[in-house]
């Protein structure tokens, strides 16, 4: 299962969600995408979008104010 990393720190909303959507289009079913962002709003946006699309989502605050969102493409 290939795993990819997408660094989105410093990007303002809604750019993190748009870039995540673009990346997910390129991945195959079962691939894993790990996103890093410090935008609280982006965490909410991305998690909600991915859940709605049926992807598996895991969110972890890995550092103070830094989130790691792990998505597994359906």
């Amino acid at each position: 299962m290939p795993t990819f990393h997408l660094e989105l720190c410093g990007e303002i909303c809604p750019v993190p969600l748009l870039r995540t959507q673009k990346q997910m289009e390129r991945l195959s079913s079962g691939d894993c995408l790990i996103i890093e962002t410090e935008q609280t709003q982006a965490v909410r946006n991305i998690a909600r979008w991915a859940t709605k699309e049926g992807h598996q989502v895991e969110v972890e605050e890995v550092d103070n104010g830094l989130w790691q969102i792990t998505l597994w493409k359906k």
Binding site: G10, I12, E36, N45, V62
Partner: protein, 216 residues
């Protein structure tokens, strides 16, 4: 923007070490906030209330992760209406709250609060500039202050713009050209009466909320 594509990494890898302890910073900020409250209290006791209210308001806003700018913007860009729903719900609640407050002051013959006056053509220009700025910066004024508090240094640029724009508007406010085309304010409770005005506004907002809820 930085690199446009994601890069592959070994599966199961952790990208960050464990969190740093921020408790000492919390205590330091709390002591400074209390000291500031004490200094404000020596000038005017009402300032302590404003100070405490501002801190609590900011805390609630930050923890809620709600974004008014996203409420207006995301429906157009990503077809996500969840923030818009929250925004309309807030308007619904504040309509009821403000109506109670305004009715109470009206019954007691006090000046009605929140009675907005029309501004003229500059309202439309200001609205357009504010909207463009909001999308470029990624949030509204409240969001910019919260993000700055979270440590987003880039928001200092937004803060500079907020201070510059507000100062300029306060300076130009009384100039005649600022109020060209101004007509008397239409205050719905005066025209329709309180029950109908309140009912109409609640029905209008309720209809928008219902429509937003139905979006996929």
């Amino acid at each position: 923007m930085k690199d446009q594509t994601a890069f592959p990494i070994p599966a199961g890898s952790k990208l960050r070490a464990k969190k740093k302890n921020q408790l000492p910073w919390f205590w330091l900020v709390l002591i400074l906030a209390l000291a500031a409250a004490w200094v404000l209290g020596t000038c005017n006791s009402r300032l302590v209330f404003f100070w405490a209210f501002g801190i609590v308001y900011g805390l609630v806003f930050q923890r809620s992760r709600f974004c008014p700018a996203a409420g207006v913007r995301d429906g157009f860009i990503t077809r996500d209406f969840s923030n818009a729903q929250t925004l309309v719900l807030i308007l619904l609640l504040t309509t009821i709250g403000y109506s109670v407050l305004q009715y109470w002051t009206w019954v007691h013959h006090c000046p009605i609060p929140g009675h907005l006056a029309p501004f003229g053509w500059t309202t439309a220009v200001g609205g357009l500039l504010f909207g463009v700025g909001m999308v470029l910066v990624g949030n509204c004024v409240l969001g910019a202050l919260v993000r700055l508090g979270e440590g987003h240094a880039a928001q200092l640029l937004a803060l500079t713009g907020i201070i510059f724009g507000s100062t300029l508007a306060a300076y130009l406010y009384s100039r005649p050209f600022f109020k060209l085309g101004v007509q008397a304010a239409v205050y719905l409770p005066c025209v329709l009466g309180w029950p109908l005005a309140l009912g109409l506004q609640l029905a209008f907002l309720g209809a928008i909320y219902w429509w937003l809820k139905r979006q996929p």
